[in-house]
């Protein structure tokens, strides 16, 4: 923390977690003066000294861009992934995937797809942060311990002050299922913490759903929670004016979509008599932005292959992990301009890495190009993690000596073979 100076900039948007808190005050040098959580303040405000490389050898940026274009031009099945960057970077990334007939997936989308598959198969009944903040009188969260990655979640979603529609939010009931302890800001609120084995979340949600529907399953407990406790939770949700069921998609294991589907059914049942809605906890690495941009530009979500016939989507086959495991990609373009999509260990494919930090330890990527950090170094747009609100983030500090992801991809795109260039 520094000292407030006259040239401090207010209302800055934080790029470091999907809450994208936008009340930060920063100094002209980009040091956080106010509003930063432990994650934000844990990042150095110093502009890192980074050097473009080819096979680990220092080169000029132009040489690195040229080599990246050459590799992309030769590739038959490039995987465009990582995708932790701002909206303009994502627009450029989709364009490159389209140009090069590549695969397009975010670097940390596994949990996100637990929810998306259910939305696509069955639907969804969702709410958004301001509604939770002002309306929720019961909040039930299925998550192990997301608060370390969302430090200001409770401050933003369920602050202790008055609600718009409720002068006595102290009556609000918060039930944390799976969490081992409540985060600090909740001290004093009506919080119930119930340890649970969320690998059994599907069964748990089915049992709770049955109780909400007025049936009593013949079980003594589910996921480690006694049936009487679950009856109380079901009763609280049924009695709520606006119950919110939140969950961490990534905590439900490989078949997590079954749990999400059961939670959706539970929410539908509640809405037969009262109001309730679902709230997937916001995913990191700007997955929500990558999803939105890919969807509007291609018409299909992440995990799309730009084939000779057009975009083809497959939520299982075209995940970056599956593509890498199956050996279907022949090149990886990995974008990591902000936290949330760490480059995995890839031994057998050439990698082009665009990152705002140094490459990870180990064998160097074939091409490494340092890029600016969105929000800190250039004006940007982020989708908040719930995917509804997108914020304009004015830059925090003087421009870094690196291009943005969008600018870098434009430079590479312009050097692709003529047949692969687009006018837009």
């Amino acid at each position: 923390m520094g000292v407030m100076s006259p040239d401090a900039k207010t209302d800055r948007v934080c790029p470091y977690c999907p809450l994208h808190c936008d009340d930060l005050i920063v100094s002209a040098q980009g040091e956080i003066l106010s509003g930063g959580c432990e994650i934000a303040c844990g990042h150095s405000s110093q502009i890192p000294l980074l050097q473009p490389t080819i096979a680990g050898q220092a080169v000029t940026r132009q040489q690195a861009e040229g080599e990246a274009a050459r590799l992309l031009g030769q590739a038959h099945a490039p995987l465009i992934s990582g995708l932790a960057c701002d909206v303009d970077g994502l627009r450029a990334a989709v364009a490159v995937a389209d140009q090069c007939r590549g695969f397009f997936d975010h670097g940390a989308s596994d949990g996100f797809f637990n929810g998306l598959r259910v939305l696509q198969r069955r639907g969804a009944l969702l709410t958004s942060p301001a509604e939770v903040r002002n309306r929720a009188d019961v909040l039930v969260v299925f998550a192990n311990q997301p608060w370390s990655r969302l430090p200001r979640f409770f401050d933003r979603y369920v602050p202790s002050g008055a609600q718009l529609f409720n002068d006595a939010p102290a009556n609000r009931k918060i039930v944390l299922i799976g969490g081992s302890h409540a985060p600090d800001p909740l001290d004093g609120a009506d919080v119930q913490v119930i340890p649970a084995d969320l690998s059994k979340a599907a069964e748990l949600a089915l049992v709770l759903g049955a109780l909400v529907a007025g049936r009593t399953p013949a079980v003594a407990s589910s996921a480690g929670i006694a049936i009487d406790t679950l009856k109380e939770i079901a009763q609280a949700l049924k009695a709520a004016s606006y119950g919110v069921v939140a969950w961490e998609n990534g905590d439900f294991g490989p078949h997590g979509d079954l749990a999400v589907e059961a939670l959706y059914d539970l929410i539908l049942t509640l809405n037969q008599t009262t109001r309730a809605a679902g709230l997937p906890l916001p995913p990191g690495g700007h997955v929500s932005g990558a999803h939105q941009v890919g969807l509007w530009q291609a018409g299909t979500p992440l995990r799309t292959c730009f084939t000779a016939e057009g975009p083809v989507y497959d939520s299982q086959l075209y995940s970056r992990a599956k593509l890498l495991a199956d050996g279907r990609a022949d090149l990886v373009l990995w974008i990591s301009a902000m936290p949330g999509a760490v480059l995995p260990k890839i031994d057998d494919l050439p990698v082009i890495l665009l990152s705002s930090t140094a490459p990870p330890d180990g064998p160097p990527p074939r091409v490494y190009i340092p890029v600016a950090t969105p929000s800190l170094d250039h004006d940007s747009v982020f989708f908040r993690g719930e995917g509804v609100v997108s914020l304009h983030a004015s830059r925090w500090r003087s421009p870094a000596p690196y291009l943005s992801v969008a600018e870098t991809l434009a430079q590479i795109s312009n050097q692709l073979p003529k047949g692969e260039q687009h006018p837009c």
Binding site: A124, T127, N134, D155, T274, R275, W296, G299, G310, V312
Partner: protein, 554 residues
């Protein structure tokens, strides 16, 4: 560069030109007078005998924003079935009911349309809507801001704030969200649904605020008028789709006491409750009202047969209709104390009594409203049908024989219950040009669009005459956007980026402080980071912000 379109048959209702043969001269993106100095054109297109109209303008089409993107995610089959690869400089894309942004722009241009307006921009999702629209090539765009279920406004009305404060708030929000109009959806109903109210009539009180929709509509129509927006309040009435709802529609008109209004997708609001099935056409009542009420404009929201998805801000209605989903799935969302959205896939079937009667009701309305300047051709894309059905719809309006053939193929009880077969009217090319160009440009205040006069933007569609109007309007011979040839024989030959039309509003700045405080207190976020600016919108090099200055009336 000087371009001439030589010898076309011009249909330019804004100048009462009805098929006269003439030349059009284009320079620097504009239509110009024939050069007095006898200069020769650099490019000469001989279009002798071809039909020339201004580029089409879609006044109500859900083309971009969070709701549209949710619909794309939901409509898996639409995107599996319809897709196109990148070729000849065009981007890949997919979908017909919910096309990707690039596909949207290409297909509109391929039909001779050069502008489309997104009618449901939610305050908190406005930037998203603009981001999507910025990625729609070929056409001009603009948005209508959804108000009337936002808690700030409802709070102002419930606390009986003066109209001037409401006016300032509306002006600020239109400016902040880069919109050109204001829409109200199920007045008060989206908010009421969040309080578990499941139906809301025009004179019923809403939960919590104890406001009736009558009051909300009246105040918002007044605000839109007072701040000088050219497009009157765009109203999606209460009780969409409910049998007998025509009475709500008529009552809504009475509620605004003569203020100008635009009733949108009026087909969905023209239902009676008569007959064995308690569902009947009230098109005659609605048409009669429109014919007798000069302050009212309507757009159609025609439904067509086939697969689509209904995408609406009206969560109360969409939740109620979720059971009709085909495929059976739906999404509803409560949004940020601003509004909501709901998506329900629909497959309108010609043998289904209700679907068939909806189709006849829409066509009856088209044919019974006398003044083509006050009814606009829409399908409420994608709610009634994808916009790609417009050429077919135009043929239904222009060709009575074809219409009656189609009528003979629908559910026989619906056909028997409809007066459609007894209506002889056939729209002329001149009237089609009003419905799809001249009328929309006038009601939106786009002075340099929708006509072929000197000074107009050279957004022009050239069609080869054909006995089958669907064939003719499906594949224009030539399309020009801002003077550039962009489509030839239905194929895109050049990618261009259209403008975004935005109203420039005045407002008292005390309202800004009030809204800033409201955002910080109740949303936990900063209003300054929501406000859109010309600089931001134009930073990507694609978009062009065209401001329309308003003359405040009060």
């Amino acid at each position: 560069m000087l371009t001439r379109l030589k010898g076309g048959r011009l249909y330019d209702p804004a100048h009462q030109v009805d098929g006269a043969t003439g030349d059009i001269w284009i320079e620097n993106g504009r239509i110009v007078a024939k050069p007095a100095n006898g200069a020769k054109p650099d490019v000469d297109h001989d279009i002798t005998g071809m039909v020339v109209m201004a580029g089409g303008i879609d006044i109500h089409s859900h083309i971009g924003g969070g709701k549209v993107n949710l619909a794309r995610a939901l409509m898996l089959e639409d995107h599996e079935t319809y897709k196109h690869a990148p070729q000849d400089g065009l981007r890949a894309g997919s979908g017909v009911a919910t096309p990707s942004t690039f596909s949207t722009g290409y297909r509109y241009a391929q039909m001779g349309y050069t502008a489309a307006f997104e009618p449901a921009v939610v305050i908190s999702n406005a930037r998203h809507a603009h981001l999507e629209m910025s990625d729609i090539p070929m056409i001009d765009k603009g948005g209508y801001l959804m108000l009337g279920n936002d808690d700030i406004l409802l709070q102002m009305l419930a606390s009986k704030r003066e109209q001037s404060a409401v006016n300032d708030y509306v002006a600020l929000m239109v400016q902040a969200t880069g919109c050109i109009g204001v829409k109200i959806v199920n007045p008060g109903g989206i908010s009421a649904f969040k309080f578990n109210q499941r139906n809301l009539g025009l004179d019923e009180d809403t939960a919590f605020y104890h406001l009736n929709p009558h009051r909300i509509v009246q105040s918002l129509a007044q605000a839109v008028h007072d701040i000088g927006l050219v497009h009157p309040l765009h109203i999606h009435c209460n009780n969409l789709g409910v049998p007998g709802n025509f009475q709500t529609t008529l009552d809504t008109v009475r509620a605004v006491e003569g203020l100008p209004i635009h009733l949108t997708h009026v087909q969905f609001h023209s239902y009676g409750a008569e007959g064995d099935r308690h569902f009947s056409s009230a098109a005659a009542h609605i048409a009669e009202m429109v014919n007798a009420t000069p302050n009212v404009n309507v757009d159609e929201g025609q439904s067509m047969f086939g697969q689509t998805v209904t995408a609406s801000g009206d969560t109360m209605t969409q939740f109620r209709n979720a059971g009709f989903g085909d495929p059976k799935k739906s999404i509803c969302m409560d949004i940020e104390c601003d509004g909501g959205c709901g998506l329900v896939p629909f497959n309108y079937k010609d043998k289904n009594f209700v679907n068939a009667l909806q189709w006849t009701i829409g066509l009856e309305l088209f044919l019974l409203v006398n003044d083509p300047w006050r009814i606009f051709l829409t399908t409420d894309h994608p709610n009634g049908a994808p916009f790609t059905t417009y050429p077919h719809l135009i043929r239904l309006l222009m060709d009575k024989t074809f219409r009656n053939e189609k009528l003979a193929g629908i559910n026989k009880h619906a056909a028997a219950a409809s007066t459609l077969g007894s209506i002889d009217r056939e729209y002329s090319l001149y009237e089609i040009a009003i419905l799809t160009r001249a009328g929309p440009s006038r009601i939106l205040g786009l002075k340099d669009r929708g006509h072929l006069g000197e000074g107009a933007a050279a957004d022009i569609a050239v069609y080869a005459p054909h006995a089958n109007a669907e064939t003719m309007f499906d594949t224009p011979k030539l399309v020009f956007k801002d003077g550039e040839l962009v489509v030839r024989d239905g194929q895109i030959v050049k990618t261009v980026w259209g403008a975004t039309h935005v109203a420039q509003c005045d407002f008292g700045h005390s309202i800004e402080k009030e809204v800033e405080k409201w955002f910080a207190t109740w949303k936990g976020t900063r209003f300054s980071n929501f406000v859109l600016s010309k600089d931001e919108l134009e930073a990507d090099g694609r978009s062009r912000w065209v401001g329309h200055n308003l003359a405040r009336r009060s």
